[in-house]
């Protein structure tokens, strides 16, 4: 699934200008401690977090993420948006909790091991 399809399917809105929406979503990750996310998030994931600091862009680039999703209706800092547009990392907004969205994503097959 591409970022664009995921947005449509789950009702996510983009805070960034529209770059990177064709990135492939290969999995998901939740976390608010950037040191931990930086060490553990899988490549190609969407990252669900409440942190809107500009450092999230560097973490997303480093882990080659598909997109960052700010949960709980949080807004990214202005500088974060500027850097995200520069790097082509989509930052999306989700009004409810990370738990809620993570459940829906997983249920739809994002990051779910193939049955067998």
């Amino acid at each position: 699934m591409k970022v664009r399809e995921m947005m449509e399917r789950f009702g996510l809105t983009a805070a960034t200008g529209g770059k990177g929406l064709d990135r492939e979503v290969k999995g998901g990750y939740c976390g608010d401690l950037l040191s931990e996310v930086m060490a553990s998030a899988p490549q190609g994931c969407v990252w669900l977090t409440v942190q809107g600091h500009q450092n999230i862009v560097a973490v997303a680039v480093l882990r080659e993420m598909a997109a960052v999703i700010l949960t709980g209706n949080r807004r990214p800092d202005e500088e974060t948006l500027r850097k995200a547009d520069q790097e082509g990392i989509p930052i999306l907004i989700w009004p409810q909790s990370a738990y809620d969205l993570a459940g829906r994503l997983y249920e739809s097959g994002v990051g779910k091991p193939a049955a067998g």
Binding site: L33, S35, M38, Q51, H53, N55
Partner: protein, 252 residues
């Protein structure tokens, strides 16, 4: 204080991060008066009183400092919305109070003493003046950048707290120190000797580095301190020492 060196510089033993009983996690015995007296016994020349998101005990500590012969600066340990702790240090109480007004405007919630601890405001005679009702343990609505900017606009210094620590240290919260954040320095906790800070915590990079006790109990005052070579125990001189200007410096 050590003997004068050429150029009128002296070595000051400084602990720039000490709490009082105003911090919910600060011990009841940490009255402004007794914090200063214990600091003198510990051989400190210069301290900064930095409670969580408040400086309501700084004035009393400054007055006791003048009586006891310890230089006391007013400060605060501000919690950013990224839940990073950062010191805002000032020369004058008025500057610190202006910072406090900014912090209070961005700090929601009421303290629940039975959960988080009592927040006692006291004078230099060890008399209780009241309790602070705000949720001082909470995070402000401000980004780190906004806090640093406001601290500097008020003439203060910004030092990122206990960067080696998982709880509320900048490296743990944000993965690395944002390169364009205009910090005046970073603090490592008492657990790391200052001389090993850069080796043990390589992400500090070239930033000026100090250590402090972060004392919440009287017995912990002085468990770490930074020796600053400078002309006077003032904020301006601390800034010069951190930047290693005009022969000033942090003695490691």
């Amino acid at each position: 204080m050590a003997a004068d060196s050429p150029g009128g510089l002296r070595k000051f033993k400084a602990d720039l991060h000490i709490h009082t009983c105003l911090s919910p996690c600060g011990d009841w015995e940490m009255s402004p008066r007794d914090v200063v007296r214990r600091s003198r016994e510990a051989g400190l020349d210069l301290i900064a009183v930095c409670d969580h998101n408040s400086c309501e005990n700084a004035g009393a500590a400054m007055r006791e400092g003048r009586r006891a012969g310890v230089a006391v600066l007013p400060g605060m340990e501000v919690c950013s919305r990224e839940e990073v702790h950062i010191l805002a240090l000032f020369d004058l109480l008025e500057q610190a109070l202006a910072m406090q007004a900014f912090v209070y405007a961005g700090l929601a919630g009421e303290n629940q003493p039975e959960l988080f601890g009592f927040q006692v405001v006291a004078n230099e005679e060890n008399e209780v003046l009241g309790e602070n009702p705000r949720l001082l343990i909470g995070a402000t609505a401000y980004s780190l950048e906004e806090i640093v900017h406001r601290t500097h606009a008020l003439g203060g210094l910004s030092i990122s707290c206990h960067v080696d620590r998982p709880a509320n240290g900048i490296i743990n919260q944000l993965g690395f120190i944002p390169p364009d954040l205009k910090l005046d320095g970073v603090e490592v906790s008492y657990r790391i000797p200052l001389g090993q800070a850069r080796e043990r915590c390589p992400l500090i990079g070239a930033l000026p580095c100090i250590t402090s006790s972060d004392a919440h109990f009287l017995k912990d005052i002085g468990r770490a301190a930074t020796v600053l070579e400078m002309a006077a125990p003032s904020l301006c001189e601390i800034g010069r020492a951190l930047r290693a200007e005009m022969g000033r410096g942090v003695v490691v």
